[in-house]
Amino acid sequence: MDRFDAVIVGGGSAGLAALMELSKLGVQAVLLESGKPVGSKNISGGILYSKNYPYGKVYNVEDIYPNFQDEAPVERRITRYYLNALSGNKVYTIDLTEAHNYRTNFAYSVLMARLNRWFAERAEEEAAKMGGGIVDGVHVRDIIWMDDSSSSSSGNSSNSIIITDELEEFGARAIIAADGVNSEVALISNARGKFKPESLYQGVKCVVRLPEDIIDERFDVSNDEGVAHLFAGDISRGHNGGGFLYTNRDTLSVGLVYHLDSLLKSPIEPYNLLNEFLTIPVITNYIVDEVPVPKEVDRTLPREEQLRIRFGLSRLLKQYEELRYTYYSKHERLNAIRQGLYSSEEEIKARLDDVRKRLEQEYGVSFTHDYVELEYSCKLVPDGKRAMMDKPYKHNVLFVGDAAGKGIFLGTRIEGINIGMDDAARAARAVARAKEMNNFSEDYMGRYYAQLVNDSPYTHDIRRIDFEYMKIFVRACRNIPIEPFPLFLKLAFMLIQKTAVQELAGAIARMLDQNTLLRIIESNDAYVKIPMEVAERVGNEVKPIAMIKPLSIDERIARMKIREDEIAHIRMKDPRSRFIKAMVHLCPTKCYIMEVGDGERGMERGGEEDARVGTKEKVGARIVTSNVILQHEGCIECGTCSLETEWRHTRGEKGIAYNYG
């Protein structure tokens, strides 16, 4: 049987950081990841921070990967940060760059699936030196601990055996659980229960393609700099949450994040919310692009001719796209000229115009305004202040990142990836020390890890609201003109705009307990009503420059790369529970559907119907809906439904594979 010092479960940014750090510390470590290649199941909203604190050290991405800033495939350096209050087509923008820069070395927009592949290359290189590495396409099914009680005193036995769906079993002395928000290791080891809806957010996102130079111009940035926009107001149908739009190199990340408990109260389809968001004039104007619309091939032509046209057109369209993305990107332009593909920019332009003309004349292609969606994704995000594990260890397992419920989410402060990486570096140190002392027990290694995590400034920030940050936020709101507001709000704004009052408010806030403060910050007023009020009274009106047609959920599912797992990885416990009925709406890929029962066949269950659900009207009042049916085909493993289901990730290489992340 193979046996390793350390086994890391999960190849996200935290797991890979753990592999990198363990290998640097001289520990032979193997990372297991169910996706193939590594990174294909990882998504994020997309900003990676590097931070510094006057008290205590955090392990930043550039500490873990020394050549990160020069080589990593990051998107853009985020240099401006805005909060937008929305109402209808009115918007009021507040510059939060100062808050964004608070204790920040740098921040990049990232596409996680791509970035993780780079992390994986670096970590694998380092791990190979120690005889370790990455094994992808492997799903951990179970872990067996042997005589746990005795080993904690004697301490030196390799006391866990890892069982996977794909490989022969093997031994591990220490385990780092980096298997994300829906951690199976947490449940296998009994380290914690599933996260409750009030400790979770559901985020949906789409990646929109747009040429680099057009992004530069539209967002007024240059030199690989980028912008982050947050949105609050009437984008949520009253749910607590907000939207975001981050600029990547030649794509945009656009999405929404909601408190899951708020969604459960009045369930609504996340993809519909996303589509409403995309069609708000402010957003549409950011994402719109010119796209070719091919003409239908004349079906009366001979089949060979039809084929010839179809293949010819698809070649030319491919050419057009490549040329366009080369021409409208300073990097690509220079690259292509350096490689000798073209002699000058003018030549690329001439070729582009030529191909375009051919498309129009030979194939009758027209050009219209729309947007180009590349990828749709959904993820649960643990809300650190409610989800963080008090004791992030069990047996010889250490929990890091999302699996440990980490993340700083406070209004406009959104950090997760950096915190998971910090955890990983600390877990690696605990394992290295355990190896040195030959003691991997809960009491020794686990406690030491908990102590290291406790020392992290991030842990401090998760536990307590950082008032310095809040002060900067309040200061940013200083310039909101107060005249048009009703008395109550006017007073409130006046107060926060006075420096002296700010100090006083800070002092009062410090006296209130954390929960009371959170209730104010995360209230519906703060998320929805006040932003709407602000936008309506002092916002600028935005005129849409074009109409776009957002993709339907069926089109999105059709575009996804999903390899079906013939064995169901989700099982419903009660197909009639309120929670499961909510999933009919909340599942981001429509895996839950209402069964239409037939009254004549005795399935009628009067009275307890959820009025919003089902196709009742269509088939008449006598027939009612009752059971929920689960079709796991198309599941993207977000875990929204996990609370009341037996939920596992798909087996290795199966399930969703994201391209961008």
């Binding site: 193979d2 390793f4 193997v30 694998e124 190979a128 005889g131 370790g132 590495g133 990455i134 094994v135 492997v138 794909e166 490989l167 022969e168 093997f170 060979e304 001719e305 084929l307 010839r308 293949f311 698809s314 070649r315 491919k318 269509k618 088939v619």
Partner: protein, 295 residues
């Protein structure tokens, strides 16, 4: 050659450069035939499977691997692609005007000479199921016959007993319109294995996976410099008898190519409106009738 105490395994893979038939890469002439000059060429998908099988031998039995191909000078693209898959130690291209116009038999003759002149005792040869532009699937078996190797076709899994110098293989035997049989066979080396399209390489141990990952990386490094692993052989180098290779050595004559006529459907189809209850009831009744055997 005395190899009595030699536990090493030497593997050769025969591959073919084939047109890339994926959309956006393929071109057709106005008469519907393939436009070869406009279509990109790549390593054939079945050849790629043969390479995966060779990689398995390299990972699990530490095998030495050579990839060979007969074709024009541009066929080195196929060898390069193959190297990326199986981390080949040597690449051999048999390229000579004399080889042009070869059918499967003449090709097998050329490859036989190539394999004999690889400078090592070859224990195992892998070939694909067939080519996408030929679809005969004969070159593999004919090469085995010419080499005097045991031939195992339609293989979906194999293992080598290095001590006993035996290969054990699982074959997928298709009995058209009846069922599929899985057959386990064992034979002594040397052997030629033709892989079934459903061959899947399975690495069941963490240590094998790690070794595979390292070889994969090594393969990427080698591909950057593939020309230094490449040897191009002419007919003279191979020492073939020119009467048995190329057009001269090809008994096959293609005298006509026909399109396969579309089979006329004998069933009737009707589109059913899923919101129409009467339609659905009718469908339900039909299914019920069939289930009850009433038709």
């Amino acid at each position: 050659m005395d190899h009595a105490n030699d536990n090493s395994i030497n593997v050769a893979v025969m591959v073919k450069l084939e047109p890339d038939l994926s959309e956006g890469n393929v071109s057709y002439n106005p008469d519907g035939t393939l436009n070869r000059s406009q279509t990109k060429n790549i390593l054939g998908p079945h050849s790629a499977i043969a390479c995966r099988a060779a990689m398995y031998a390299k990972t699990c039995y530490n095998a030495w691997v050579a990839v060979c191909s007969m074709g024009p000078p541009t066929a080195e693209i196929a060898l390069k692609d193959a190297m990326a898959i199986c981390c080949a130690d040597e690449l051999h291209l048999y390229s000579d005007r004399i080889f042009a116009g070869a059918d499967t038999l003449a090709t097998a003759e050329t490859i036989k000479h190539g394999i004999i002149r690889m400078g090592r005792r070859i224990d195992l040869v892998f070939s694909g199921h067939r080519a996408v532009d030929g679809e005969t699937g004969q070159t593999g078996p004919q090469t085995a016959w010419k080499l005097g190797f045991n031939f195992i076709g339609n293989v979906i899994d194999y293992s080598i007993d290095v001590e006993r110098r035996m290969v054990r293989a699982r074959r997928k035997v298709y009995l058209p319109s009846l069922y599929t049989v899985l057959e386990d066979v064992e034979c002594p080396l040397p052997a030629l294995i033709a892989l079934d399209p459903s061959y899947k390489d399975e690495y069941r141990r963490v240590s094998e996976r790690l070794r595979y990952a390292r070889l994969e990386k090594e393969a990427r490094r080698r591909v950057m410099d593939y020309k230094s692993y490449l040897r191009i052989w002419s007919a003279k180098d191979l020492g073939v008898d020119v009467r048995y290779v190329g057009l001269a050595g090809s008994p096959t004559i293609v005298y006509k190519v026909e399109k396969i006529p579309k089979v006329k459907a004998s069933r009737r189809a009707r589109v059913v409106d899923p919101s129409n209850l009467d339609d659905l009831r009718e469908v339900g009744n039909l299914i019920l009738n069939i289930a009850l055997g009433e038709r």
